[in-house]
């Protein structure tokens, strides 16, 4: 994949005058050239958000508050649109404030604390992720070493990526619930089966990635299947495994959140989203959403960090 942004400058006029060589970019300017565009985009996003919030909330403000106050102007309107109780679109600072209050004001085990719900969702995500990864690893090893499984089971695993597997979530909750299993376990089962598909497919691809030449080399060493597996296939599969782990943990998080919906809003970020929408508490919905986004970032970041730690040479 070539560099993005390497578009040829199409209309560069030829000049007679000497074109001085470009000054060599020092490392500090190189990193600002990466950070500055992102900051610009985010800053623009903030501006647009505030403007949109003002615009979307204005009708309600005008109708409720200002209609009995003659002679109001923008100076009165704007602050009101950004501090409504049930806004159509909350302003960023409202969300941050709500998140702060729900984290700080309540103890960690209180169902009013956002961190409590985050912890619940994170627990099922992580448990499901671990189970799904293990299942995926075991299954991929079996598939690579058994032709029967490869030809009969693996096509189904590939095909299942086109199917909305998440739709089974309510069934799993109800079925496990009828067996008396509630709480974290059914949710992590759902997270598990969402995560194991990408891991299995990627690991099969990775375990099979060594070329004919490398396999024949091991053959000339009279290496057993076990040797070939541990010394060749496993290291070769790592560059395939880690990206799939990142996909897997993001999928596990979606699974954990969705799993909280059918049980009728008890605990977790999904439940919080649901209660917020039932009671029309817009700011709560947004705080839960932002928290879920942060959780996703943290989890994916953790996997990326693990990748760096375990593969110091970097990916090929």
């Amino acid at each position: 994949m070539s560099r993005i942004g390497s578009v040829w400058p199409f209309e560069t006029p030829m000049t007679d005058a000497a074109v001085l060589p470009r000054p060599r970019a020092a490392t500090s300017t190189a990193s600002t050239s990466r950070v500055l565009p992102v900051l610009t985009v985010l800053a623009t996003l903030m501006w647009v958000w505030y403007a949109a919030a003002a615009w979307l909330n204005a009708p309600q403000v005008i109708e409720r508050v200002l209609s009995d106050q003659p002679g109001w102007g923008l100076a009165e309107l704007l602050p009101l649109t950004w501090s409504m109780q049930r806004p159509v679109l909350p302003a960023p600072h409202q969300i941050v404030l709500d998140m702060w209050r729900s984290i700080v004001d309540w103890p960690l085990d209180s169902p009013r604390s956002l961190l409590f719900h985050t912890g619940v969702t994170a627990a099922s995500t992580l448990l499901g992720f671990v189970m799904g990864t293990l299942l995926g690893l075991v299954l991929s090893v079996l598939i690579v070493h058994s032709r029967t499984l490869d030809r009969s089971l693996f096509p189904w695993i590939i095909a299942s990526q086109t199917v909305p597997v998440l739709a089974i979530a309510p069934i799993v909750i109800v079925a496990l619930g009828s067996m008396g299993l509630t709480g974290v376990f059914p949710k992590s089962v759902i997270a598990m089966y969402l995560c194991f598909f990408p891991v299995t497919v990627a690991m099969v691809k990775g375990l099979r990635s060594p070329g004919v030449m490398e396999l024949e080399l091991m053959h000339t060493y009279a290496a057993s299947a076990g040797h070939t597996f541990w010394k060749l296939r496993v290291p070769a599969s790592l560059p395939f495994l880690f990206p799939s782990l990142r996909v897997g943990i993001a999928a596990a998080l979606v699974g954990a959140i969705v799993a909280e919906l059918p049980t009728g809003a008890q605990a977790g970020l999904g439940a919080r989203l649901l209660t917020g929408s039932y009671y029309g508490n817009t700011v709560q919905i947004w705080s839960a959403l932002v928290m879920a986004a942060l959780l996703g970032l943290a989890l994916t970041g953790a996997v990326a960090w693990a990748e760096k730690a375990l593969m110091p040479g970097g990916r090929k």
């Binding site: 560069t12 030829m14 000497a18 074109v19 060589p21 000054p23 060599r24």
Partner: protein, 264 residues
């Protein structure tokens, strides 16, 4: 060293005056160092030199695919930029660079489409060019169905499509096997004899340069300079077996010496 004028058209087709190309770096990389060269109409010029001597850079600057840092380049009396927009030349790359989603015919009509030539006329011209390079009957094939040599012939047909007076070729036969290469060399020479276009040809093969050219430009390794200009007095209508004659070997020897001297 002042080149010989052909006398037919006194104004050179290509004039390069004290042209340099520098790239930023510590210290700056000088790809071409004050190169001067005049190319008259109808000449077949080969640029030859070791890797990194700037011969491709020189060609690309003339084609306005790269910018010079200083100096002047004129093509047909215009700046190279204007010459490109006026479609004054055809360019053949090292690889065929055909578009795999277009048939052979559609690939050859591509530059004509860009120029706005009407569709039927473009296709007629394309068929003619394909016949010229010996590929009649392959119009509706796709590039990946052809061999490497045939693909390169298609790209030559494409470059000739709008009948440019100037043809620039950057090691076009480098990736081919020797037998195909010989055949294409001969075909190219026949084409040049018939039509008397001006050709600038980059190569690192001495026999190829001597076989094809009327004049050979020897360049030094980086920083690229023109070390010597060698006229080839070989007869214009050459066949491949001229490569065994003493005159040929003599010219090739001179080129080899010039290259070795440049290297020291």
């Amino acid at each position: 060293m002042k080149p010989v004028e052909t006398g037919v058209n006194l104004r050179p087709v290509v004039e390069v005056a004290e042209m340099s190309v520098k790239f930023a770096g510590e210290p700056p990389v000088i790809a071409l160092d004050r190169v001067s060269l005049d190319i008259a109409e109808g000449e077949f010029i080969s640029l030859i030199g070791p890797s990194g001597c700037g011969k491709t850079t020189l060609l690309r600057v003339i084609a306005d695919l790269e910018q010079a840092s200083s100096g002047r380049v004129m093509v047909n009396g215009m700046s190279s930029h204007d010459a490109r927009l006026a479609r004054a030349y055809g360019y053949v790359f090292q690889a065929p660079a055909l578009f795999p989603w277009r048939t052979v015919l559609a690939n050859v009509t591509l530059p004509l489409e860009v120029q706005g030539v009407p569709r039927e006329q473009a296709r007629e011209t394309a068929r003619m060019q394909l016949e010229r390079v010996g590929l009649k009957g392959f119009e509706s094939k796709y590039p990946w169905q052809l061999s490497g040599g045939m693909q390169q012939r298609v790209s030559i047909a494409r470059a000739l499509g709008f009948e440019p007076k100037l043809l620039m070729m950057d090691e076009p036969f480098g990736a081919l096997d020797e037998i195909t290469r010989d055949r294409l060399n001969e075909q190219l020479l026949r084409l040049w004899e018939r039509e008397k276009r001006t050709v600038i040809f980059v190569t690192h093969s001495i026999p190829e340069a001597v076989f094809l050219s009327s004049r050979i430009v020897v360049m030094s390794p980086r920083p690229g300079r023109i070390v010597e200009l060698i006229e080839s007095r070989l007869p214009a209508d050459r066949r491949l077996d001229i490569r065994e004659t003493p005159e040929f070997i003599d010219v090739a020897h001179r080129v080899r010496l010039a290259l070795r001297d440049a290297h020291d």
